[in-house]
Symmetry: C2
Subunit: 148 residues, 2 copies
């Protein structure tokens, strides 16, 4: 399992904000954990949960995803397809900051880890005085399959 936080960490984080680690929230998180690299939307998560007979309201899915994002467990991302998607917000620097490759033909979203943006970020900080905390990088183009 590619998560780099413990259940205890999570409980602590929730507790600090006067929240609880409820069964529903664990279910929602587990769906994301089980599908690395999948960028699920709230409706996706809801659908998967219903499929596995876990009855849970769509509003609760939204609220759980929102909460987990606020805690930094998940990362909310937008691919311009009209809905928010979520992925695990890895805190390990080696996996953090991966880039998304979005195929404009088939719509497939793949990931690419290597982060070569440091130079650019340093340059920007120096020139503009803007202190960068995070970034989102999306590349649009044609995936290997669609090129052929």
């Amino acid at each position: 399992m590619p998560n780099n936080f413990t259940l205890e960490d999570l409980k602590q984080k929730l507790h600090d904000g006067q929240h609880k680690l409820t069964p529903r929230r664990q279910l929602v998180l587990q769906i994301i954990l089980d599908r690395p690299g999948e960028h699920l939307s709230a409706e996706d998560v809801h659908y998967i949960l219903r499929e596995q007979k876990s009855e849970i309201g769509l509003a609760t899915v939204y609220r759980s995803l929102e909460l987990l994002s606020e805690l930094g467990i998940l990362q909310k991302i937008e691919f311009g397809d009209g809905c928010s998607r979520y992925e695990l917000n890895a805190t390990d620097p080696s996996t953090h900051h991966h880039h998304h490759l979005i195929c404009v033909k088939c719509g497939k979203v793949t990931e690419f880890d290597k982060d070569l943006l440091e130079d650019l970020e340093a340059h920007i900080e120096k020139k503009s005085g803007f202190h960068i905390l995070d970034h989102q990088v999306k590349f649009f183009g044609l995936c290997k399959e669609c090129r052929e």
Copy 2:
């Protein structure tokens, strides 16, 4: 005026797709042209037009912005604030591909032109076989004013 296409180009592009360069479409485009670096939403454009006594339906604004984006005149961008925004899609390589610096405190969006992503793109193409056509880069952080 920072546009690098002529009215004739635009007319031709529209004509190729069996569309017309109507007065309304010109109005919408002009609003964007007059405000470089402003990232206006459809409602922003609609509001500005009403202010200057140009009566035009909101749906028409949406349709015009959509059409101009399809033609590559405008670029549709998402800053995660719940609505699509539009900017001029400069075709001049020296101004193309500017990055957005989004302040997480005051919400201000500024631009930064320098494009140092070439190395990264070359690396990705080589490693993944993904052919990159365009990219979107957003940096989140604190602007100069909010740091103080």
